[in-house]
């Protein structure tokens, strides 16, 4: 008998679990090694607790990152900008480094939820939740970010392209913890744009898009286009990127490229929008984002 409706009581967390608050990263990794699949990481809790209240997951162990200050903070390092995985979204939004060096990420993070949500939620949580609609994910994809994962065995670096495996699924092994995001320095004179459509201005994206590009001699050189909420994971619009590379950004070309977006997406119909709508909105968002990026790269735009 489907008694789903009687298993939900959002006043409380109606499940039993053991709560751990390790003092060091090492301790956290040990706990993960011990409990693996049975454990969930609690960072900001804005997705985890909701899922627990909805009884979508019932972890036996919760490992909180609250004491792990080493997983927080934003700093410039050799090879780019380092963001601790447990850094609050609000801290990223208010960071001068991010605003100046990575305005694309700044804008994407600002689009996530409300201030209250961003005060709690973390960048690592937004990625590990692996929602196809995650606003930070498309921005980090366009920026070519690398994700640092650790286990007691050691560290490995996962390019963000390879990180998402499906709704709610990532490349992390059950014993691995996302510790940091490393973003390489963007190229000189690049153009960028982030665009999002939701039902209201406080919503999960129906579609979102991020673009990063450069121009060389009036032609598009580097070009990355990422889209969210139109496939099981955030995706790159590879065909559109290829079509643009090495060409002069005329309105016709941008129109063609935006039409090509369809090749790389596979949207579904859900409560936020229909598949047909997502196709049309994707084209419009990519067209807008490309135009704005070209303008910002000094190409004058359309």
């Amino acid at each position: 008998m489907s008694m789903w409706i009687n298993r939900i009581d959002t006043h409380i967390l109606p499940i039993n679990f053991q709560y751990h608050a390790p003092k060091t990263l090492e301790e956290a990794l040990k706990l993960l090694a011990e409990y693996g699949d049975e454990a969930k990481i609690l960072s900001g809790g804005t997705d985890l607790l909701v899922k627990m209240k909805q009884r979508l997951i019932e972890p036996r162990h919760i490992i909180s990152l609250r004491n792990l200050t080493e997983l927080r903070g934003i700093r410039e390092v050799e090879g780019g900008i380092h963001i601790g995985a447990a850094t609050k979204l609000r801290e990223i939004e208010r960071s001068q480094i991010i605003a100046e060096r990575l305005p694309l990420l700044h804008e994407a993070v600002k689009a996530i939820g409300s201030i209250q949500i961003r005060n709690m939620g973390t960048i690592g949580g937004n990625l590990c939740n692996a929602s196809p609609a995650a606003d930070s994910a498309v921005a980090l994809m366009a920026l070519g970010a690398e994700l640092h994962a650790q286990s007691i065995e050691g560290e490995r670096i996962i390019p963000i392209e390879n990180f998402f495996k499906g709704p709610g699924a990532t490349a992390l092994k059950p014993v691995e913890l996302l510790t940091a995001i490393r973003i390489p320095p963007p190229p000189e004179n690049y153009g960028w744009a982030f665009r999002k459509i939701g039902r209201t201005s406080l919503d999960i994206a129906t579609v979102n898009a991020a673009v990063l590009l450069t121009l060389r001699g009036g032609r598009i050189d580097l070009c990355r286009i990422a889209l969210g909420a139109v496939a099981p994971t955030p995706v790159r619009a590879v065909r559109a990127e290829e079509h643009l590379r090495g060409r002069e950004p005329t309105p016709e070309l941008i129109q063609e490229a935006s039409e090509l977006v369809v090749e790389d997406i596979s949207p579904i119909t859900d409560v936020r929008g229909t598949a047909e709508y997502r196709v049309e909105a994707s084209k419009a968002l990519v067209r807008d984002a490309l135009n704005l990026s070209i303008e910002r790269a000094g190409g004058g735009g359309r």
Binding site: M1, S2, M3, W4, I5, N6, R7, I8, D9, T10, H11, I12, P14, Q54, I197, R199, T200, S201, L202, D203, I204, V271, R272, G273, T274, E276, Y277, E280, A281, K283, A284, L285, R287
Partner: protein
């Protein structure tokens, strides 16, 4: 001649404002009592089923008190008691063995903590026989479809239900066929509204304490403490005097607590069995499974002559009421009333049907069917004007129901003559402010972003008052007494839904007597210490409730002057009272005679020492009229033809609410009304998942979107103006406002979208998806 007032017409802070913004206001959900148990409700996971077997032993083993549908009184009732028995069909039980929607309560548990109650709930085992559901009223009506209710009750008798039709109403005036023959243009369209959820801030809650001697004390989210009391009496047979419903602040309702919410009888049943206080507070998800607005399908036909005169109208309305009637029959009456009170129809025919479906029960929601029908009528009038080559403003003004006309304030049994109207001025001034003449030609624009201006007008009743009784209960009691220091205790059962109603009453009292506003103390009352008040609904709080406040104020003033006349050696009718802010008192004085004065505090104190008794008054007041308040909206929108998103650019909103009591709060009603209308036009719906039979969003508000401040026009682009009229029957000339502030909004927005892109939509909400599809298809009817 314009009177000058001290308090009326000036913006004053709401009296409950500080308590609310500092978090110190007490709502039903703030009530915790010693020894209290926490309750949880076992809800049906199926949209239509029969309980074959229920085993609650697991819950009882955990120490929970359990009630099931077998333990509650065998009473069939209607939870809404606003209309009289002649207009009431009954089909509710406290708990049911034959659930009719996902979420229908079957059993309930109470335990020492919410956690334990939840565990107990999950330990209950139920076996269901699953029945065929219906999610669409047209499908429900098909012969041979399983009946949700085979028999329901009416006036103490059982009546059979045919084809799931809960109730019907038919009205015909004049000769409709001839009327349409006389018309030069006849348009007929089908409209389908959305199924909205009230999304009031406070989810439904009841806290019930059993009292020695068999009584109960109840704290709950309600718009009517007295109707709550009467319903509990009807179901449980407890003498009325032993049921005390205590007023707490209400965190909004928008009509969803006109009826007594299901949490109340369930909590009473549990508390009586447990012999302990029980608290049943619904989660937001449960609240979404408790109530919603009526979804309506209209077939609307209007005919007009070339000169712009309407000749006939016909309206067929099918109401999807969900699983139960919450007085759907009076709504069928109100619906035709709203329809015929917009524009004069010399010949008309109306057929209204309320139909059961296996969905959450529908109830009143701000406007009680008026926003729905006004959207359809304002859309069709716009179309008709275009066909006739007339300006919609002139066409509507020519035909509008106005001064001296008969107005249907609450269906066919509640009518009165309109004695105040600012309609013409609302339309003319609004048109000037928005720049109506400069609006584009529909569909003429070609760019990506297209702007359009739309107009919608409307009204709502103020109360269900009328010169004759009718089938709607509408009266209010009030008490006012002068305290020994000159302050006043004002006692009323009327609830403040959050609109500042009781602050308005205090202003009326202060104005009438002549005391500083702070002298009026609004008492936290209950059913045992108040006179009956029907309910805070139908935009009656200021107009009908305020009339009771005014009457007791007048009486108290008369008594004050009589006593003061003795003391001051003057004639009562020659005395005046002025509010003395410095002394924080009203001062009674003899005009023109220096020094001959006494404060109300001194007088009241003297009355005590001399044993003259308490200066007080009590009244129960019925308004003999239901005057409409009028509104007009001019909205400019911008449509992004590539994403289908609609953005508000500018709003001009005018209202005739009679005399404005509190301008800032009145403006707030308009802002809120627009936000709700914007949301109705473009965003809200609660679709069902036909596979599970549950709401598609499963009750999660994450997927029930309302506009935020960022989605609405900034206030500098939102112009509100009032056309003040003097309603002769209203307190200080005032009428209502709450519902009229919403009713025409969706129509104005739909007309603005048409003006921008040349496409009309006949189904709400108008989503970006629908807009893109329509633009792609080049659809233009």
């Amino acid at each position: 001649m314009r009177q000058s007032f001290r308090f009326i017409g000036r913006s004053t802070p709401r009296m409950d404002g500080v308590a609310k913004v500092t978090g110190r206001e007490i709502y039903a959900s703030d009530i915790y009592l010693p020894d209290m148990l926490y309750a949880r409700v076992l809800k049906s996971p199926y949209p239509h089923a029969r309980v074959k077997h229920i085993d609650v032993s697991g819950a009882e083993r955990l120490g929970a008190v359990v009630v099931t549908y077998r333990d509650v009184p065998d009473v069939v009732y209607c939870p809404r008691l606003v209309s009289t028995p002649e207009a009431t069909y009954k089909d509710w039980r406290v708990l049911t063995g034959k659930p009719l929607y996902v979420g229908d309560p079957i059993a309930a548990v109470a335990a020492e903590s919410e956690e334990l109650a939840q565990r107990a709930l999950e330990a209950i085992e139920v076996e269901f026989e699953v029945l065929e559901p219906s999610f669409d009223p047209l499908e429900s009506m098909r012969p041979g479809k399983p009946l949700l209710h085979e028999r329901i009750r009416y006036m103490g008798e059982e009546v059979e239900v045919e084809n799931n039709i809960a109730c019907t109403m038919e009205i015909e005036q004049g000769d409709v066929e001839r009327g349409f023959e006389e018309a030069d243009v006849v348009l007929e369209r089908e409209y389908r509204t959305n199924r909205r959820y009230h999304c009031q801030l406070e989810p439904k809650t009841a806290v019930v304490r059993p009292e020695p001697g068999g009584g109960v004390t109840i704290w709950t989210t309600t718009q009517s403490i007295h109707n709550t009391r009467l319903l509990i009496h009807e179901i449980f047979g407890i003498p009325v005097g032993k049921i005390n419903v205590v007023k707490t602040a209400l965190g909004g309702a928008f009509g969803s607590s006109i009826q007594t919410n299901i949490v109340v009888p369930i909590a009473v049943a549990l508390a009586l069995k447990a012999r302990k206080p029980v608290r049943l507070a619904y989660t937001r998800e449960e609240d979404l499974h408790e109530h919603c607005a009526y979804q309506m399908i209209f077939r609307l036909k209007l005919g007009a002559r070339r000169d712009g005169r309407l000749t006939a109208g016909s309206l067929e309305a099918i109401l999807d009421i969900g699983a139960h009637q919450i007085q759907a029959y009076p709504l069928l009456g109100c619906l035709v009333g709203w329809w015929v009170s917009l524009y004069k129809l010399p010949n008309l025919r109306y057929v209204g049907k309320a139909v059961y479906t296996n969905k959450v029960p529908s109830c009143a929601m701000r406007g009680y069917g008026n926003p729905q029908i006004t959207w359809a009528v304002e859309s069709l009038m716009d179309e008709l004007a275009e066909e006739l080559g007339l300006d919609p403003l002139e066409f509507k003004l020519l035909n509008h129901v106005g001064l001296g006309d008969l107005f249907w304030g609450q269906g066919p049994t509640v009518k009165s003559i309109i004695k105040s109207s600012g309609v013409e001025e609302l339309v003319r001034r609004g048109a000037r402010l928005i720049g109506w003449d400069k609006r584009p030609k529909p569909g003429a624009q070609r760019g990506r972003y297209r702007r359009g201006i739309g107009f919608g007008r409307g009204f709502h009743t103020s109360s269900a008052g009328a010169p004759v009784p009718g089938t709607v209960v509408d009266y209010t009691g009030a008490m006012l007494k002068v305290n020994e220091d000159g302050t006043l205790d004002y006692v009323t059962a009327m609830m403040d839904c959050g609109g500042g109603t009781l602050t308005a009453h205090a202003k009326i009292i202060a104005e009438e007597i002549g005391v500083p506003l702070e002298c009026v103390n609004i008492v936290r009352a209950d059913t045992q210490t108040t006179l009956y008040d029907v309910c805070t609904h139908a935009s009656r709080g200021v107009y009908a409730g305020g009339a009771a406040a005014l009457q007791v104020a007048r009486e108290v003033k008369r008594k004050l002057l009589e006593l003061a006349a003795r003391v001051l050696d003057a004639y009562p009718h020659a005395l005046k009272i002025r509010p003395d802010e410095e002394r924080g008192q009203g001062v009674i004085y003899v005009e023109g005679v220096e020094g001959r004065e006494i404060t109300i505090g001194e007088l009241a104190s003297m009355a005590r020492h001399k044993n003259w008794g308490t200066i007080a008054a009590v009244a129960s007041v019925r308004q003999g009229s239901c005057p409409p308040h009028f509104t007009a909206y001019f909205v400019e929108v911008e449509v992004d033809t590539e994403t289908g998103k609609v953005r508000p650019i500018r709003v001009v909103a005018g209202a005739d609410v009679g005399r404005v009591i509190n301008p800032k709060l009145a403006e707030g009603q308009i802002h809120g009304g627009f936000a709700m209308g914007w949301s109705m036009a473009l965003l809200e719906d609660t679709p069902y998942d036909p596979r599970s039979g549950d709401l598609l969003n499963k009750g999660f508000i994450t997927d029930y979107k309302l506009p935020t401040a960022r989605d609405l026009p900034p206030l500098e682009d939102f112009q509100v103006f009032f056309v003040e009229t003097e309603e002769p029957t209203g307190p200080f000339g005032a009428k209502g406002l709450g519902e009229g502030a919403l009713n025409p909004v969706a129509g104005a927005i739909a007309n603005a979208i048409y003006n921008a892109i040349g496409v009309r939509f006949y189904e709400l909400p108008i989503t970006p998806d629908k807009i893109l599809k329509a633009l792609k298809g080049g659809e233009r009817r």
